[in-house]
Amino acid sequence: MTDRTQQLIADLVTQLTPVRPLRAPLARAATWLAVIAVLAALVVMYPTRVLHRSTYTLTDVELWSMLATAVLGVIAAFHLSVPESSRRWAWAPIAPLIVWVLSSGHSCYRIWHAGVPATNLPAESPECFRFIVIVSVPLAAFLLWMLRRARPLAPLPVAFTAGIGVAAASAFLLQFFHPFDVTFMDLAAHLAAVGVVTGLVAASGHKALG
């Protein structure tokens, strides 16, 4: 062992302070998801404006894949934040994300195929975009605050999966206020918002967690 390494060890030992071991990633992810679920339930129970509902509602596949993207994105972020977890967790939210996008696209096709006139479809795309982006801000802040405790060695995959999870969670919450079927424009707005949120959380998270 070189003198420099010995000196470093001596310095680290001098700086040693007691630390509380971090809880398991799954337990921490469950905490975040539970807090968000409770807050969402409170908001949903509060009287609110329900937007126009068309005869075309979201399919179960869309809803479940959206929720799965959110849950797996958040769980993956917590797993990736600690050294020992497999880096394959970064792929966890990708499969449900693809299913979500494809099923939304299929819904758009159904509307188009049914020949519903454009005038009968609500034009709420900008509101959808704003909702997802605005709701994502507190969700992302809370998530990054929790992830920061782990001081991840590789912050980018953590921030990226966290971004996907937060964007999907916001899109899922949107369904309580936006219970009508998606149009092409809605799908574009959802995807743009998910992309923007994922990018912003990945960029800010990379700095915040680094």
Binding site: M1, T2, R4, T5, L8, I9, A10, L12, V13, T14, Q15, L16, T17, P18, V19, R20, P21, L22, A24, S81, V82, P83, E84, R149, A150, R151, L153, A154
Partner: protein, 176 residues
Amino acid sequence: MAAAQRGDARAYDDLLKSVVPFIRALLRRRIKSAPLLEDVTQDVLLSVHRVRHTYNPARPFTPWLAAIVARRGVDALRRGGRISRLETQDEDAAATFADSEANNVLGSHDAERELEELLAQLPDAQRQALQLLKVRELSLAEASKVTGLSIGALKVSVHRAIKSLRAKVERDAASR
């Protein structure tokens, strides 16, 4: 490690000292350079200190440490790759500075001494004009006041001095 998490300095000291050979052995598979190996070993120790709270005492310590070593090893290799892409190897650099003859040639080009020798060979008026205007960088008006020569005479002196120096340098270079 569990004791270190509770703040036991002696246990932490023993642990860090005992894991250094293990860290080196893992890194040696990827890193051949001894100085880099030492740097990355220290980087791993710093990382262990930074994320020691992420170790779960209920689980084995070695996989946790190996994951940190792997991460820091990859980081070092990526950093090395980025540096090597940005830097250019000068293959002649070693030959230039290791070769004794090259060093002698470089030594003979002692600019200050050579300039003094060259200036000494010039006529007084030319030498003085050159020193004032080119070495001390005075203006023509200032040099005129110092020497008492007209501005035109100074210009002519400098022109002739430079012409003489150029001829002398070219002769020297040709004779080498």
